[in-house]
Structure formats: structure tokens, C-alpha cells
């Protein structure tokens, strides 16, 4: 009797989790977003196999050719196949953005937990620092830092992460402020738990929802910021097929050969929109 009820409870729990997945999978927004993002992730992993031509192969006789059956997206100013370069360009952005997001979110969680849990002076100092950092136009900070530290990929990731820390930190802090008032935190204090344990083992598991949503939103911004930095020449350097870089280097030919710019731009747009759809769908389900 008792064994069957225990099984019943376990089944019920598995059922609930399955229902959550089902709710996520029922969200059309999420599915479309996941489809688009999934496409680009696959492409970033497999582009070496699927590109029709070498994205770096220069053909002097084939410069600025319009889209055709030979070159679906045309060729650029030195005769490289735009289609192949678009496919190859995903890899750069999809390395920089997720790593930067991961770092930024991790840092933001730490900052937000500490500020939200300890309140008082710690919170005041951290919150003012966050405000100060956020009062600068972010792109200017990035430009300044990269110009002084050197423009390699590692620095791009670090800069985006550092910009994200206060933004994520603020979201996490406000979630912590709600949770810390709940009585399970009081109970933990009464049995003598230390602050770090309460933050990580008691509070953190209860704010995964907002953190997950914030992470997907940040990912969208990270892609966008990485592309912007490349556009300004602060990220990857030529001849990388990175989209932002391509748009920047080809924009001089926009009037005579729109395809050199429009296709990488479209690729970038679909990825950003895809991530945002994913974030929206997730948020709707999490917030129910």
C-alpha cells in the first residue's frame, strides 16, 4: 500500500516535470526561436562540411558577382563566395556570445546574491557601483577597454561579460530580496547556516526561473554586442568571415553589390530574433 503511494507520488512529480516540458514545447514562440537558433548552432559546428566553397578562397575574376546558381549569395569584393562566408561566420559569434553570457551571468549571480542577501552597506556599495557602471553608454566602455587592452577575442568576451555583470546582478538582487524574506531563510538562520550556504543552497535554487530568462535575453544582447564590436573593428580581424566584420568591410560596396552586406546582416538578424523568441517563450512558461 505504502509502496504504491510512494510510487504514485514519484510518478506525479515526474508527470509535473513532463508537463512543464510539454508546456514549453507547446509554446510556438519558443519552438520557432529554438528552430532558428538550432539551425545556426548546427551550422556553427558543421560549416566546414557543408560550405559549398572555401570561404577564404579568393578568385580575382569573380569579384562582386550577383547571386547566381554558382554563387547563391553572390561574391564579395575579392571574389569570395558570400554564401559560404555567411555559413562560416556563425561560428565566431556563437563562440564569443555564449562564453561572454556564461561569464557575465555567473558574475551577476554572485554579485546579486551578495548584495540582495546581505543588504546594508554591502548592498549600498554594490548597487551604487552597478548604477555608476550602467550610467555609461555600454558600447563606449567596450570601445575604450578594447582599444587599450588589445583587440583579441578573449578581451571581447571579457568586456561583454563585465558589462553584463551589473545588469544580471540587478535582476538577481531583486529576486533575492523577495526570497530572503521567506521563512525558510529564517529557519536556516535559526539552525545556524552561514550566509554563503543560505545564498547558494537555499535561495539560488528558488530563483533559477528569472536567471534562466535573463540568461537567454543576455545571449541575444551578447550576439548583438559582439557583432557591433566586430563592425567597429574591435573584435575579430580580417580575413575572418565574422558577420559584423563582413558587414563593416563590405559596406563600401553596398550600392553596387547589396548582397555582400544584406546576407550577413540577415543572418545576424535571424539569430538575434531567434534567441529573443526563445527567451520570450521561456519567460511565458516560467512566469505562467
Amino acid at each position: 500500500m505504502s509502496a504504491t503511494t510512494a510510487d504514485g507520488v514519484r510518478v506525479a512529480r515526474r508527470e509535473r516535470r513532463r508537463e512543464l516540458y510539454r508546456a514549453i514545447l507547446r509554446s510556438r514562440t519558443f519552438l520557432v526561436g529554438a528552430g532558428v537558433v538550432g539551425f545556426w548552432v548546427l551550422d556553427a559546428l558543421l560549416w566546414r562540411v557543408i560550405v559549398p566553397q572555401d570561404p577564404q578562397a579568393i578568385t580575382a575574376s569573380e569579384t562582386l558577382k550577383a547571386p547566381s546558381t554558382a554563387h547563391w549569395f553572390g561574391t564579395d569584393n575579392v571574389g569570395r563566395d558570400v554564401f559560404s562566408r555567411v555559413l562560416a561566420g556563425a561560428a565566431a559569434v556563437l563562440t564569443v556570445a555564449p562564453l561572454a553570457t556564461l561569464l557575465g551571468v555567473t558574475g551577476g549571480i554572485a554579485v546579486g546574491l551578495v548584495a540582495g542577501y546581505y543588504r546594508g552597506i554591502v548592498d549600498d556599495v554594490v548597487s551604487r557601483l552597478i548604477d555608476a557602471l550602467l550610467s555609461f553608454p555600454l558600447i563606449i566602455i567596450a570601445v575604450l577597454v578594447l582599444a587599450s587592452l588589445g583587440r583579441d577575442t578573449r578581451n571581447v568576451i571579457l568586456v561583454i561579460a563585465v558589462i553584463f555583470i551589473p545588469i544580471v546582478g540587478r535582476t538577481v538582487r531583486s529576486a533575492v530580496l523577495v526570497e530572503r524574506e521567506r521563512e525558510y531563510v529564517a529557519a536556516a538562520r535559526l539552525r545556524g547556516e552561514r550566509g554563503p550556504y543560505i545564498m547558494v543552497a537555499e535561495i539560488l535554487p528558488n530563483i533559477t526561473g528569472p536567471i534562466l530568462v535573463e540568461t537567454t535575453i543576455r545571449l541575444g544582447y551578447a550576439i548583438f554586442t559582439a557583432a557591433t564590436l566586430s563592425f567597429f573593428g574591435l573584435g575579430l580581424q580580417p580575413p575572418s568571415p565574422d558577420w559584423g566584420l563582413t558587414i563593416a568591410s563590405q559596406r563600401a560596396f553596398l550600392q553596387v553589390a547589396w548582397w555582400t552586406v544584406v546576407f550577413p546582416a540577415l543572418a545576424l538578424a535571424t539569430l538575434v530574433v531567434g534567441v529573443n523568441l526563445l527567451a520570450d517563450g521561456l519567460r511565458q512558461v516560467v512566469e505562467e
Binding site: 505504502s2 509502496a3 503511494t5 510512494a6 507520488v9 514519484r10 506525479a12 512529480r13 508537463e19 508546456a23 521567506r182 521563512e183 525558510y184 529564517a186 529557519a187 536556516a188 538562520r189 535559526l190 539552525r191 545556524g192 547556516e193 537555499e202 535554487p205 528558488n206
Partner: protein, 676 residues
Amino acid sequence: MTVATAAAVEIDGLTISYRRRGQALRVISDLSLTIRPGEAYGLVGESGCGKTTVAMAVMRYLPQNAVIESGAIRFAGDDLLGASPETLRRWRGNRMAMVYQDPGTALNPSIRVGHQIAEVYELHRGMKRREAMDAAGAMLETVQISDPARVLRRYPHELSGGQQQRVMFAMALATEPELLVLDEPTTGLDATVEAEVLDLVEQLREGFDAAILFVSHNLGVVSRVCERVGVLYAGRLVEQGPARELFTDPRHPYTLALLRCAPRLGMSKDADRLDPIPGSLPPLGATIAGCVFADRCPLARDACHEAQPPLVPVAGHHLTACLFPDEVPGIPHVAATGSVATSELGDALLDVGRLAKAYKLGGTELIAVAGVDLELRVGEVLGLVGESGSGKTSLARCIAGLVEPTEGSVRFDGQDVTVRAERRSREVRRRLQMVFQNPDNALNPRHTVRAILRRSLQLLAGVSGRDRQEKEMLELARSVRLEPRHLDVRPAALSGGLKQRVAIARSFSGKPALVLCDEPTSALDVSVQAAILNLLVDLQRDEGVSYIFISHDLAVVRYVADTIGVMYLGQLVDVGPAAAVFSLPHHPYTEALLSAIPTLDLDARPRIKLTGPIPSPIDPPTGCRFHTRCPRFLGDVCETQEPPWQEDSGGHRYRCHIAPAELAKAQAETAATTDR
């Protein structure tokens, strides 16, 4: 259109389901009832029985995902379920009105009260603004708000809970509706305010001829207001009849169990044991072939599980859905009465001296606790009562070490522990624990019961090693009657009562000497409350612990406590042995609190009415803090001088300018003369 003889409301075979994630969950099954014009009908039941759904269905306010599967509702003879949106709009607010549980959210916070009431007149009576405002003022007078002209210009947040609820009544009654639906209208209010609102309902019934559907979980409240009562269980009407008959001679085992499980005023743990209802409510949408209560019923036999018993008359208008109504009065009590007598009280355990706690609120200070002295001995149960804002929870949080007191000291086991829990020794933390009001909040939703109990055993009892922890945990779980199958789930999978058992087990994991219980049963249904109170009493007796037991429910406090302290605006005003505090003479505030309890004893009872709202603790009254509402107000002396402690021989003390002999005489006179 309206047939003169038609019932105000006629519900016929109503079945309602909620659609959730593609499934239809039945919440109301084949419900039929009628309310005659001018009659007050009470619908009672525990949470989840479907009583609010019925109220919403009658107003046609059901949420989107509710489906009326069959049945009909007729309002004054007209089909309500088929009525067009236009018709409904005309009826609502005009011929039918509703008062909700929480007036704070039902009123628009950004519109002045006067305009909100006037709007009803403008909309339904076609009055002009000025005329409507006058009518609104007159209506506020009808609902006995003092200084209506001033209240008209106030925003809802500037009014007290009781005043807000009066405003809701004013709006509901503005158009003299034929039907008034009251959904737990007093549930969020303090006892003295609740009593005021119930008085108001009774008086309004004389002036207005509305039929009332009164939905409540509180049998006492319903019995005060209603002539006829229906008891709802798992979406089915299981018993219906005249209020008095139903409560004195219930003929459904569920009604009887409900009546028995709540402690009545005067019951004490030393003499009586509470009757919990075994088992739990069937899950929402469960399909049960037989009687819905059969699984928990002491009378159940095979026939009960075969088909749902029909609602049949026992006598006159008294109906029951039980196959064996004649056997109901003979159902024995679950627990033997007269359990072992008082436990011996030991040495001093806790000594609270001049404790004060102030919170900073912007520029001002809110003094939650204003100088409280308390003593507690080993094995003693101190009950703390008082209305919201009296400071009882703040006091407990200071003693627990969750906040640091602004002034005063807390001595525990002879050592000074006036610091936060983090800075107390492990031994003190182990011996001083707390059980919180809401188990949903007090248990981490992401941890399994096993993890919760194991962690507190590790920290409080210092039990290390997986095997030993596991063994002790099973022991601990058994002591609060949790079964092994409850250990591997997260709190969300448990019922409220089981969650509170986990919380209690956690606080007992280090064999504490003092457990602070902050309203441990107020989030639970009465049937569950009985089981939890029994458990707390057993644990207290077996382990010899002391409790500080906080509750707004005087009957509950009286039941568990040896000593009772009554708090008002941050001060202890009345303290002494439980029986002494509840008998004459006692502080006038205690007198008022006691007379405010809606009880099931239907005989006339004197009522001490308090006037005015509870003053704000930001700016407490001078002299005696109670003087603004005191029914025994003397004059200047109360306004200017702090009252002295008056003490009698039995250790009962209260703070008042009136001496015991005099007060006893006055209070005895009141009790004798003010028969209703």
C-alpha cells in the same frame, strides 16, 4: 418578468469543471439549493470544497477556464446562465452584488472612496454626480462609518480594514439588491473587527430585504448570521438545514467531524483531546463512485462506496446525503477524552526584560514591541494573543534571534542571548527553535523532506554520518507521524498539514527546550488544525519542552496554553494562568476579545463592542494605550497616566486603572445584563 413567489436564487443540478492543461477537473457536482427572498443562506466547507466557485457561478464571474457542464441557476425566476452580457451588466451591481474577502484589493486604490460609491448610483440609478455623492454619504451612514463626510474624501489605503469592508458593503447595498453574495467577508479581519462587520450584516438584514449567500469556512461566523446552512464537501452538498438544527444535531458525519475538531472556548489540553478528521480531501477532479466522504468516515461500509447517497430529509427541511443519518449522533470521539493531567513546571527557562523593538520607517519609528517583561519555566506553554499589529510576532522574532531588539534583554538558560541567532552558541540555537505560520513559506520548495530533516539534524543535533543521520531522521519523522513515503518528495507534493509536520519535525530535531510557535495552525483547515494541535501537545508532554504559542484564535490558545499573555499595541496588558485570564476580572481588552469570538453556542451572549480602529503603532495613544477604544474608559486618568499592574492572588496581572474588585463587579454586571 419577476414572479413574486420565485426564489431569489435557485441552483438546480449544477456541475462545474475547471479545464487545466487539457484536463477537465470537476469541482462542483450536481449541486442544488434555493435561497428564498430575504433569507440568509450559509455555505460552509474547508478550502478546496468549491464554495467560492458556487459564489462566483451565482454572480456569473467564473474564470475563463470554468465550464458549466450541466444544471441551471435561476435568479428571481430568470435564467442566469443563459442571460446575455447586457442583461448581466444590468443585474450586477443593480439587482445582485458581491462583497469579497479582501476589501483592500477589491477597492480601486487610486480613486477616492466617495467617487467609487457614487459611481454605482450614477451607473445604475442615473443620478448626477452631486446627488450621487449625497446618496453615497447617506449610505456610509447606514453602514455605520463614523464621520462619513470625511471618509468620502479618503482613498482606500487611508481606511482601516474594517472601514474598507464597510465601504464595500455600502457599494454593494447602494442599489438595494435582491441578492447579496458575501465571500468570506470577515476572513482577513481581526477578531474585534470581524465582530463589528458581523453585527453590521445582522443590522443591515433588518433594513434591507436582500437574500444573502454567505460563504465561509468558519462555522461560528455562519451560525451567527444565517438561518439556513449548507455544508459542502468535495464539491457536493452533504448536509443542509436550519442553522441551529444543523449545528446542534448534525446528521452527516462530515458536519459532525467539523464541529468536533475545532477547540471550543474553555477546552484545555489537560482535560480534552481534539478530534481530527482522518485522511485528507480527495484531490481535485477525482472521480468517486460512492459517497465522497466514505474514505474518511467512521460509519462507512460497502454500500457507501457503491453509489453517491442522495440528499434526503431527516426531519422537515433538514437534509443529509448520508445513508445512515440515525447513527451519526452516536459516532464516538476519535480520541479518548481526559488525557493525562498537567505536566509539572520546572525552573526558569526564559526571562525577557523590558524588551522593545522599533523599526525605522522613513523618518518615523514604528514601535512594534514597547517594553515587554516575560518569564517562562521549563515545560510551560505561554499563549500570546492579540490582534494584528499587537507586536506578538515581533516579540517572538526577537526571542528567536531573527531580529535584534532595540532595548531590553533576553535571557535563556541563565545566559544572555540578546543577539541574533548567528551569534548565539550552537547549544542555544539547538535549544531554542521556531515553527512558522505558513509551512509553504517555511520549507524550501526545492529541497526534499529528507534533505530538510537531515540538514537540521546535522546542524542542530550534530548527527554526522549518512547511516546515523538516516536512522535519526526516520525516528524524527515517526515522532511527528510522517511516513517514510513522505520523505522523498518536495514540500509541494504534501498537504498543508503534512508540511507543517515537517516544519515541526525540523524544529524538534535538536531536542529543543523552547519552541516558538507563530500561528502554527492559522494557515490550515480546522480538520487539520486539530491533528497538528494534538501533535504539538503530545510532543510538549513527551519531551517536556516549553512553547510560546502565538495565535489570534483565543480558543486555540486557551486549549494549548498554561499561561496566557494578551498583547495590545506592543505591550503586554494581561497575563496569568489561562483559566484566570479568561475569567473575571480581566483587562477590558481581553473582555472585548473574548466577546468578539463567533461561537457555535447559539445562546444569547453579551457583546462588548469596541469603537474605532486600532491606533497606529507609529503614534500610539498616550496614557493607557487602549483608552481610545476601551469600553470601561474612566476619563483623564486613562488618557494621561500609564496604568499600573493590578495583581490578584492567583498570579493574574493586568494593566488597568481599575482595581480587580471593582472591575470584576462591572464585568459581571455587563455579562448579566446585555443579553441580545
